[in-house]
């Protein structure tokens, strides 16, 4: 079989068109910025002063059109790649796009449904009013779907750990020498003759299954400690703030190097840390329900019962690896990664929550609740916390991005995860060693990580913009 070209049959028409559109966009975008420094004088027109359309406005229109053209051409690559029947005609881009078909369908459905019902969806719906937010959300959901479908074996083309002889460092689009498997290495083979495309998709799952949960746990810890520190103040605040600053003064990498080693896992310290850190979500939920429903014992007992049974079951399984039913198991080297990421993130969350709560506790509605005789935890969790949700949601998105970067850093230094692990940090680290000769093993995971973090940042920006509007 012939090796594939990048764009297949579509390339002949679309490549020059794309180059032209990109050049036009670059020129007009720069022109627009430079020309916007020249301010046109407003002219009297009837009773009003009107600024005539300047050169910058024309450049802006041109930039918008050329950007639209780029988007259309990229869409044509993706759709054309799916429609064309023959692999040679599809090219690498077309084949990748075909493999990602479940992701495209899921994204389209999600966006169609969300935009249709956006007025009824609160802050989430408002996200679809902001272009930046939508782009960010699309990038994030792309990787979420890719990770989930990848784990369900819908997208990946090969086994992420399988080595096929003769495929070592082969460029993208090389036909596989072995029969009975997917006939191409779409993005080439790495130094150990494994498929780069598969490893990139499986790496997404590695991030998706750790980063959001680690961030959520860090938030639970930070909120449970930050609210009382701000509300009570005094000694408690001084002590907790000192503790938070202590952890923050620690260089993150040093901490990782000290914590995430097989020797430390052998001493059992991560388990004890997990035991302390993972109790916070249960404490948080118990206080949350108890402070609200203690006047209705029936409801309270139901909620607390469910929380305690499910929470303690998960707690035993995750932290102590002692699930009585034997369903939940957490590999020790993953636990240490999880714990250290939560540990590093929670002091920052603590400081943010403390800062916001300090501000909110001076508001009138808090004073009103105090006058009503509400308990301190009710005020903290049901009066202060809901009013702090805007900045916290924004920070949550940013922090998932930061956690992704931290996970990549751990992989990059080969800490915690097994050396064969397909996560992006490890793959980048492996690929960089041969970077001067072979680019394809290192660049796909690098761009994947970049786009996911960028998506989360843009999403946070969009959310911030929309939440400030009301």
């Amino acid at each position: 079989m012939e090796p594939l070209t990048w764009t297949g049959a579509l390339g002949g028409v679309l490549n020059p068109a794309l180059a032209l559109a990109c050049a036009a966009f670059a020129v007009t975008a720069v022109a627009q910025i430079v020309l916007s420094l020249v301010v046109t004088q407003p002219m009297p027109q009837g009773n009003e002063l009107v600024a005539p359309p300047s050169l910058a406005d024309h450049a802006g229109t041109a930039a918008r059109w050329s950007f639209g053209a780029i988007v259309l051409i990229v869409l044509a690559y993706a759709v054309g790649g799916i429609v064309l029947p023959d692999p040679q005609a599809k090219g690498i881009v077309g084949l990748v796009s075909t493999r990602l078909l479940p992701v495209w369908i899921a994204l389209t459905v999600l966006f169609a449904v969300s935009i249709t019902f956006k007025r009824r969806l609160g802050l989430y719906g408002k996200l679809f009013d902001s272009t930046i937010g939508m782009i960010g959300f699309a990038l994030v959901m792309f990787w979420v779907f890719a990770g989930v479908f990848g784990a369900m074996d819908l997208i990946v083309t090969h086994d992420p750990l399988a080595q096929i002889s003769g495929m070592k460092n082969e460029p993208p689009g090389t036909p596989v020498t072995q029969d009975g498997v997917y006939p191409y290495y779409l993005l080439g083979g790495d130094n150990l003759a494994r498929d780069v495309f598969t490893r990139m998709i499986v790496g997404a799952w590695e991030v998706i299954k750790i980063a959001p949960f680690a961030t959520l746990f860090a938030f639970m810890v930070g909120i449970t400690l930050g609210l009382p520190a701000a509300y009570y103040g005094g000694r408690l605040d001084v002590f907790l703030s000192f503790l938070a600053n202590l952890i923050l003064a620690f260089p993150v990498i040093l901490l990782f190097y000290l914590l995430v080693t097989p020797e430390i896992v052998a001493t059992g310290i991560p388990v004890y840390m997990a035991a302390v850190l993972f109790i916070f979500p249960i404490v948080f939920l118990v206080i949350l329900f108890n402070s609200r429903f203690f006047t209705q014992p029936g409801k309270r007992n139901l909620y607390l019962g469910v929380t305690l049974v499910v929470g303690l079951w998960l707690y035993l399984g995750i932290a102590w690896n002692a699930d009585p039913l034997g369903i939940i198991a957490f590999p020790p080297n993953l636990l240490v990664v999880f714990v250290s990421v939560v540990f590093v993130n929670s002091p920052t969350v603590f400081r943010i929550v403390r800062g916001i709560a300090m501000d909110i506790k001076t508001r009138d509605y808090v004073a009103a609740a105090q006058t009503r005789g509400e308990g301190p935890w009710y005020i903290m969790l049901w009066e202060i916390l809901p009013n702090a949700r805007g900045p916290l949601i924004v920070d949550f998105c940013l922090r998932i991005g930061y956690t992704t970067i931290l996970l990549g850093t751990l992989g990059f230094f080969g800490l915690g995860l097994s050396p064969e692990s397909p996560d992006w940090g490890s793959t980048i680290n492996e690929g960089r060693k041969l970077l001067s000769i072979y680019l394809h093993p290192a660049l796909p995971p690098a761009f994947a990580l970049l786009s996911l973090v960028l998506g989360l940042n843009l999403l946070a920006d969009g959310l911030r913009e929309e939440s400030l509007k009301d």
Partner: protein
């Protein structure tokens, strides 16, 4: 003000003590000591031999005692080998058991001995810190002006095209960790696969003789990640100042836009970024470790990786003391500077 600085210094020393104790605790856990004994002595030592090796060198004393010895508030450990030779913490080189001082810790200026580099910890730290200082100097020189210019240009007309494009640039740069941007930059500018080959892919040569060709990529990689954050802070601060009443007054008086920005707005807009730049140091330390590993520049971050990878306890302690002090001192400077720059805040 004096009292404020004194109190901050007190907290700083307390923090440094706590942190070094944590490092001490983590590095002195038994599995780590066992690894140290096996790498320093013999890979095939039996368990009893490991215990003896550690015992003779004083590693098996209780943790607080060892910490006191390292700090120099307790007398150094003295032991005896199987052949009757007297060994001890303070006995090394020309010093014998009789002439050696009783105390030899950080307080006496003795930072210990690195088991990896086979040299005094203090010499290594100073030498490596100088190399990293050179890197940081150029990073600051590139990052701070670039970030401030981007931030001010974006913030002076909020919502303009310039603002949007520059904000996008800074978001992209904050979303690109050093190991991603470094790899992409090396791929584009240093690899033979693309063929540009403008810069060197390693900065090992830059330790002796830094040139634009071998030093630009590491400097730019670190600067890029920090730049976006500072630029966004500057933009927010500038945008806020530009809506202030006195700016409107100046505009209505007929002062040109250029003069309003340069003479009236800039001074007040730069207070917040100053703090941010100072607080950026701990994050830069992170970047330094990654970039020095990526570009094989044997500075402070590289030393940290070597020390941590080989459980070189005393070197690791020296490195962490220095990095903790860098973090705490920059925090102190940022607090004091904030008070000086912003007349509305008074510390009592």
């Amino acid at each position: 003000m004096g009292l404020f600085i004194l109190r901050r210094l007190g907290v700083m020393i307390l923090t440094a003590l706590c942190l070094t104790f944590i490092v001490f605790f983590l590095t002195n856990l038994y599995p780590n000591l066992e690894k140290l004994a096996k790498t320093q002595g013999n890979m095939r030592m039996t368990d009893e031999e490991v215990v003896r090796w550690l015992d003779v060198r004083g590693y098996l004393e209780p943790l607080p005692v060892k910490y006191g010895q390292w700090l120099g508030v307790l007398p150094g450990y003295v032991g005896e080998t199987a052949s009757g030779q007297v060994t001890g913490r303070c006995i090394s080189g020309e010093l014998t058991a009789d002439t050696a001082p009783r105390f030899c810790g950080v307080l006496q200026g003795d930072w210990g001995y690195s088991t990896v580099f086979r040299d005094g910890v203090w010499d290594i730290v100073i030498k490596r810190l100088a190399l990293t200082g050179k890197l940081m100097f150029w990073v600051m020189l590139l990052m701070v002006p670039a970030a401030l210019i981007i931030g001010v240009l974006a913030g002076m007309r909020e919502g303009s095209k310039m603002d949007r494009s520059l904000s996008t640039v800074s978001i992209v740069s904050t979303a690109t960790p050093e190991y991603v941007s470094g790899v992409i930059l090396i791929a584009v500018f240093a690899s033979s696969a693309v063929g540009l080959r403008w810069f060197n892919g390693t900065a090992t040569g830059a330790m002796e003789d830094a040139t634009f060709r071998n030093f630009f990529l590491p400097v730019f990689t670190i600067a890029l990640y920090g730049m976006g954050y500072i630029a966004r802070m500057t933009r927010a601060s500038m945008a806020e100042v530009m809506t202030a009443q006195y700016i409107r007054t100046a505009r209505l008086k007929g002062v040109s836009f250029r003069n309003v920005v340069v003479k009236h707005a800039l001074r007040n807009a730069l207070i917040a970024p100053f703090t941010v730049i100072m607080l950026q140091f701990p994050w830069l330390l992170n970047g330094v470790v990654i970039v020095e590993t990526l570009f094989n520049y044997k500075g402070f971050g590289w030393t940290l990786v070597q020390a941590a990878g080989n459980n070189d306890i005393e070197l690791l302690l020296g490195v962490s003391v220095v990095s903790v002090f860098v973090v705490l001192i920059t925090q102190l400077i940022s607090d004091i500077g904030y008070v000086y720059l912003n007349p509305r805040i008074r510390v009592t």
